[in-house]
């Protein structure tokens, strides 16, 4: 369809980092300091403002305040995750939370302190900041590293692996420029996957013009999950989806209002319902869904009557993290002191920084493919990471990569020509099939919403619906292979839909495999509405000879875990 002549560029590096968000940038800084040779960081946008922190962040939600220890954080995450977490990963992460927070402050992040110079905490694990410029600060840290090269606006689509001494290991990756007709074939000794989680799988709260006004970055498509899965890496706990409770329409955070000014959740009759259902995130959403089902909606955070000073502080706080909410308050002429803030649950996401979905890694954050590491929202087993946990994981992965390169030695793998060009070129040569990437994305979101437990069914699903979802997603996977592209921007979108469809396919298998309801809202299995002891295991998956195999793994206890055959 498009008249695009592709040109291939080949790059050799020692370490390739895919994704320049929170974890990727921090790993690049640490690797740059460690002298391991050349480091290449590839990002599909620009690391200054990319990934889920593009808009800034309102607080650091993972910090160990005085009187608490890292073990407390492990227990908090274990309780919240109903036991399906990895103790080794949570502990190694928690031990670094405070040190990375202090490092962020040294890099210029504004953190609120009291008169004694101590951080002011909200609860025992949350520090107050101005996080509007957190991403530029991390990018400046990367740019200061002489051995780190950054390739912005290049989208990586596939990992390359090869048998070396009887084991399959990663030898590089391929991708393309989102602007110019360049294909990149990158050879590397070690690869860190740091692409973030997956948004845009389900029909969003605002399905029309504001379709991208969602909680998680709509540009995070689950590319890392898809690439790793296709290369044969094991994945874990995708069925532990994440749903956020947000301000209606603007999808702005609610924690700032609930905890900041102490607003309670009330229904249309003014009855406080949070005391009935509980106040963990899923309970807050569950209560809201239930009240709506009973006909008691809409539901609100009851801010009516807060002081004008509190209102002004809220207007400013939201400008730093979710400006749409401030604009909505001003534009409607009614601020939070005049009326409550309507709330709703979002569509489900797959995101390892909040719940436990992602790559199955060992304590060093190496995946089941030797040489391939994972950190941040793409890595599983370790929920409640938030920003500081992603930094901690980036640092752990960087240290592990340094050790890996030293121990393994650097075997030069034959410089194979990856010949990726053809795979991309077929989209430019494709006849107009009548289906654009936009059509296919919309179709995927509809299928997931209706058949795989989206907003339409109050997050409920059953085996019959999931079977239909599976069949329909497979059909869309065939169509996306033939989707026509006119330019590199189209090609980017086609690959994003392709990645999302792969994530949907994995997710459906995981939802089918966990025959219980462990996490309300995150997964409401209508066939098995109760929690079952039989499922105190990890549900893992991997691709074997073109088929998804489900693996049941026993819970990992203790401070360290090495990969084992299932």
């Amino acid at each position: 369809m498009g008249d695009v002549k592709l040109v291939t560029k080949t790059i050799r590096t020692d370490v390739l980092i895919i994704g320049g968000g929170t974890a990727g940038c921090y790993a690049a800084i640490r690797l740059g300091e460690a002298s391991v040779g050349r480091i290449l960081l590839v990002e599909k946008a620009n690391i200054r403002r990319s990934g889920c922190l593009a808009a800034g962040v309102n607080a650091l939600n993972a910090y160990i305040s005085k009187g608490h220890v890292p073990r407390d954080y492990v227990e908090y995450a274990r309780t919240d995750g109903e036991g399906i977490v990895r103790e080794d990963l949570l502990l190694t992460m928690s031990e670094r939370l405070n040190h990375v927070t202090e490092d962020l402050e040294k890099r210029g992040l504004v953190i609120l302190k009291d008169e004694k110079g101590e951080y002011v905490t909200r609860g025992w694990r949350n520090v107050k900041i101005n996080g509007e410029n957190i991403k530029p600060l991390l990018a400046e840290g990367v740019e200061a590293q002489k051995k780190v090269e950054v390739l912005n606006h290049v989208n990586i689509t596939d990992l390359k692996t090869k048998e070396v001494d009887g084991e399959k290991r990663v030898i590089g990756a391929v991708g393309f420029s989102v602007r110019e007709p360049y294909v990149y074939e990158i050879q590397a000794e070690a690869v860190l996957m740091a692409t973030g989680g997956a948004a845009g799988l389900y029909r969003p709260n605002n399905p029309g013009f504001s379709r991208h006004k969602m909680w998680y970055s709509p540009f995070n498509t689950g590319a890392g999950f898809a690439m790793g899965f296709e290369a044969g890496a094991e994945m874990t706990t995708f069925e532990n989806r994440f749903v956020a409770l947000r301000c209606k329409d603007t999808i702005a955070p609610t924690g700032t209002i609930a905890q900041g000014v102490g607003a309670k959740q009330v229904n249309a009759r003014g009855e406080v319902y949070e005391t009935t259902y509980g106040i963990t995130t899923p309970q807050r959403i569950y209560g809201t869904v239930e009240e709506n089902r009973k006909g008691n909606g809409p539901c609100y955070l009851d801010t009516k009557g807060i002081t004008k000073t509190a209102e002004e502080d809220l207007l400013k706080a939201y400008l730093n993290m979710a400006p749409a909410q401030t604009l909505k308050w001003i534009e409607s002429g009614k601020g939070p002191s005049d009326e409550g803030v309507e709330i709703e649950g979002t569509e489900p996401y797959v995101v390892g920084g909040h719940t436990a979905s992602g790559f199955w890694v060992d304590t060093n954050r190496m995946t089941t493919i030797p040489g391939l590491f994972a950190a941040g929202d793409v890595a599983g087993g370790s929920p409640q990471k938030y920003v500081t946990g992603a930094l901690a994981e980036g640092e752990i992965a960087a240290e592990s990569i340094v050790r890996y390169l030293r121990e393994k030695g650097r075997k030069k793998v034959a410089a194979d020509f990856f010949s990726q060009e053809k795979a991309y070129a077929r989209h430019f040569a494709a006849e107009d099939s009548g289906y654009t990437w936009q059509d296919l994305e919309e179709a995927m979101q509809k299928v997931m919403d209706e058949y795989a437990g989206g907003i339409a069914t109050d997050y409920r699903y059953n085996e019959s619906r999931l079977a239909l979802a599976k069949e329909k997603i497979r059909g869309l996977q065939e169509l996306i292979r033939e989707a026509p592209a006119g330019d590199m921007f189209d090609l980017l979108h086609i690959y994003e839909v392709r990645e999302r469809l792969t994530v949907c396919r994995i997710l459906i298998e995981h939802l089918l495999a966990r025959k219980e309801t462990r996490w309300h809202i995150f997964g409401e299995n209508a066939d098995h509405p109760k929690k079952s002891e039989e499922f105190e295991i990890y549900v893992n998956s991997r691709l074997e000879k073109g088929k998804i195999q489900i693996l049941r793994r026993p819970l990992v206890k203790g401070e360290s875990y090495e990969h084992q055959d299932p």
């Binding site: 200054r48 403002r49 504004v110 504001s210 991208h212 400013k316 604009l327």
Partner: protein
């Protein structure tokens, strides 16, 4: 919700094009333009990068937008967020970037 870039004030410097996390802004005849307005996340990175305040942020009608637009005027550590109401009134909220959120 999305953005609009004022043709008259845009100087074509390309900073917003570089910054957009969705690669959504392109250069047309020397001026920046959003390519797919529906795909804007509303992160305001482009407003913060623009040196001349040419980028305006607005809510889609499906989110309750009624014609107001918001832009940023930078003054050292302060962001002056200017909200232009449909009837011409301008409201300004100034945020010092050195101050942490109170909540």
């Amino acid at each position: 919700m999305s953005i609009r870039i004022h043709k008259e004030s845009c100087i074509g410097c390309g900073r917003c094009i570089e910054a957009c996390p969705g690669n959504l802004i392109g250069l047309m005849e020397g001026k920046a333009k959003i390519l797919i307005p529906e795909d804007c996340w509303g992160c305001t990175s482009c407003l913060k990068e623009c040196p001349v305040g040419a980028v305006a942020y607005y809510l889609g009608a499906d989110m309750g937008g009624r014609g107001a637009v918001m832009s940023i005027e930078k003054e050292k550590e302060i962001y002056h967020w200017k909200i232009h109401m449909p009837k011409g009134e301008i409201k300004v909220i100034s945020v010092n970037r050195k101050n942490a959120n109170q909540y």
